[in-house]
């Protein structure tokens, strides 16, 4: 018995040791690859930051300098004043918040109506919302611009946000979620004499928070990163958003190549949406990948 045991032990121990070493090397290789990948992904942002801290001479020097300079504060305050960064960021924030909150509110209400009521035209409404998936802004751009200008909404927050607020995606997400809510809940609410809106506020809304948070991240980024729409709907400097504002700031042919300032503007435009994704990462992943369940 003991002989058998020790024989087996001597037979297997070296093999286990080798396998363990192999696995340790494997893990080290994976760590190395991951670190490399993460650095590669982060490099353009790092490079933009580095350039944003240099003087013009350093930023346009050859060979390019890849270490931070001393002009961080000077450049950032310069950009802040030069292209009215505060105003641009505020506009972007207003638009991102209005679009994300608006999309969530509007689609939650429609999904509530579609799931909890049987009304004439319910199918038609559902299909109308579905079809909007096939009409992204760029394919109806000229005519939508005409509608906005007929409404007198050029250079207004309404023009910048309201046409972006319908959302088939969010409506479907809430519809799917409401369909999984047990019937007993609405049943009990009705027996207790609660009306539909009372049920919506007191029961449906509180249990939807996870979905709302998830959608919020995705829709906030969508709103913040809009480019074509603000470009067309705004002509006054005051109504520009940060993404279009910095594109207009890129030096062309004859201008002084102030790439250090452009990169400072780029970093300022990128950090808010990235911060939202990082802070709400758990929800963002859920918001992207859960709806199909």
């Amino acid at each position: 018995m003991s002989i058998e045991w020790s024989a087996e032990a001597t037979l297997t121990r070296p093999r286990v040791g080798a396998a363990r070493r192999r696995r340790a090397w494997g893990r080290l290789a994976i760590h190395a690859l991951l670190v490399l990948a993460v650095l590669a992904l982060g490099f353009p942002l790092y490079y933009a930051f580095v350039i944003s801290t240099q003087t013009i001479a350093e930023a346009t020097a050859s060979p390019p300098r890849v270490l931070p300079g001393s002009h961080f504060w000077t450049n950032y305050t310069e950009v802040w004043h030069r292209i009215h960064m505060g105003r641009l960021l505020l506009n972007s924030l207003i638009i991102a918040l209005t679009v994300s909150v608006g999309k969530i509110a509007v689609s939650m209400l429609s999904a509530f109506a579609i799931v909890y009521f049987r009304f004439r035209g319910r199918e038609v409404v559902f299909w109308m919302i579905f079809v909007t998936l096939m009409l992204p802004v760029p394919v109806r751009i000229i005519s939508t611009y005409k509608v906005i200008s007929d409404l007198g909404w050029i250079n207004t927050y309404a023009g910048l946000t309201i046409p972006l607020i319908a959302s088939a995606t969010a409506t479907f997400l809430f519809r799917q979620f409401f369909l999984t809510v047990p019937d007993e809940l609405s049943d009990a609410a009705q027996i207790d004499g609660a009306g539909p809106m009372r049920f919506f506020w007191s029961i449906l809304l509180p249990i939807s928070w996870a979905n709302i948070a998830a959608l919020f991240v995705v829709m906030f980024i969508y709103g913040w990163n809009q480019y074509l729409w603000p470009l067309m709907i705004t002509s006054s400097e005051d109504m520009r958003v940060v993404v279009t504002g910095i594109a207009a700031f890129v030096p062309t042919g004859t201008q002084l190549p102030e790439w250090n300032l452009v990169m400072a503007a780029a970093v300022m435009a990128l950090l808010p949406p990235i911060a939202v994704v990082v802070a709400m990462q758990r929800w963002f992943v859920k918001g992207l990948t859960e709806p199909e369940k």
């Binding site: 909890y116 992204p136 751009i141 005519s143 509608v147 990235i274 992207l288």
Partner: protein, 293 residues
């Protein structure tokens, strides 16, 4: 089944009203207008319209410029799609290995979802800048090759593809991570016991099991590259050099907004609409997932 239904003659209509109103005014009406205008020859300010039937479409499909923009769009879309899918799959597989700190690695990849495509474009424009950029500098010191995207269409295309891919990697990684999580460990362990190495396990099990995610991402990325990348082109290359990066969406803008050829631009919108309908149908035919813009 009937239990979840509330009874109210007018409330459901009030609930769907905001969404339906936005959909009608900003989606259906403009889409209908585009369809109508595509059959007319329109004077630059829209005041005179002459019905010309399919003339705009005939002109489009016999115009070398338009045919080139179709080709450019496909090269761009397929480039962005394949590069994003391949790199996000590789990143997700690495980040889902059972190692310490994989949560940190994941965060260090997912943040890229927050990058606004046009801002990404501006940063890559600087990295590729013919006089100050890092990439042309490194290339010219190593190979004496002068990289200049302003002169060479293919380099400009590479630049916009890289910019779009960088801004979209976080999205692909999120979906692949979710897909990888749904593959049961037992399947991979069984293959491991049968002597399949990591490479074999990946191609024989993981990759086929991920094919629904891959198909879904393929459609999503094609839609993204076709319809959501206007900002990159506008901010970086303005379609140049020599139309080498004039994708179809950018051409709609050029013809409709810059050259004021409204009928032609409307016809281009109709072509794009047909494309997005085909892509959406494919997606709904083969997956149950919903589209995200």
């Amino acid at each position: 089944m009937r239990a979840r239904v509330f009874r109210n003659p007018w409330l459901p209509y009030v609930l769907v009203a905001p969404q339906v109103l936005i959909t009608l005014v900003f989606f259906f009406w403009p889409a209908f207008e585009s369809l109508r205008l595509s059959l007319f020859r329109v004077s630059p300010f829209g005041d005179r319209q002459v019905f010309t039937g399919a003339d705009n479409f005939t002109r489009l499909f016999t115009s070398a410029d338009y045919l080139q923009s179709i080709q450019v769009s496909f090269v761009f879309a397929l480039g962005v799609t394949f590069l994003t899918l391949a790199s996000s799959l590789a990143l997700a597989v690495l980040a889902s290995q059972k190692i310490r700190g994989r949560g940190v690695y994941r965060s260090a990849m997912l943040w890229t979802y927050g990058i606004a495509p046009p801002v990404s474009g501006i940063i890559w424009l600087f990295i590729f800048h013919p006089s100050y950029g890092l990439v042309p500098y490194l290339l010219s010191t190593v190979t004496a090759y002068e990289l200049n995207w302003l002169l060479e269409g293919r380099i400009a295309m590479l630049l916009v593809i890289l910019a779009a891919t960088w801004a979209r990697l976080g999205y692909g990684v999120a979906f692949y991570l979710a897909g990888l999580q749904s593959i049961p460990d037992s399947v991979l362990e069984a293959a491991s016991v049968d002597g399949a190495g990591p490479v074999r396990r990946f191609w024989a099990i993981t990759f086929p099991l991920l094919s629904p995610v891959t198909f879904f991402l393929f459609i999503i990325m094609m839609v993204f590259a076709f319809f959501e990348t206007f900002g990159i082109i506008h901010a970086v290359t303005q379609g140049g050099p020599g139309n080498a990066t004039t994708i179809m969406v950018y051409k709609v803008y050029l013809d409709g907004f810059v050259n004021l050829r409204l009928g032609l631009s409307a016809a281009e919108s109709v072509v794009l609409m047909t494309m997005v309908i085909v892509l959406t149908m494919l997606q709904f035919r083969y997956t149950q997932r919903k589209v995200f813009y």
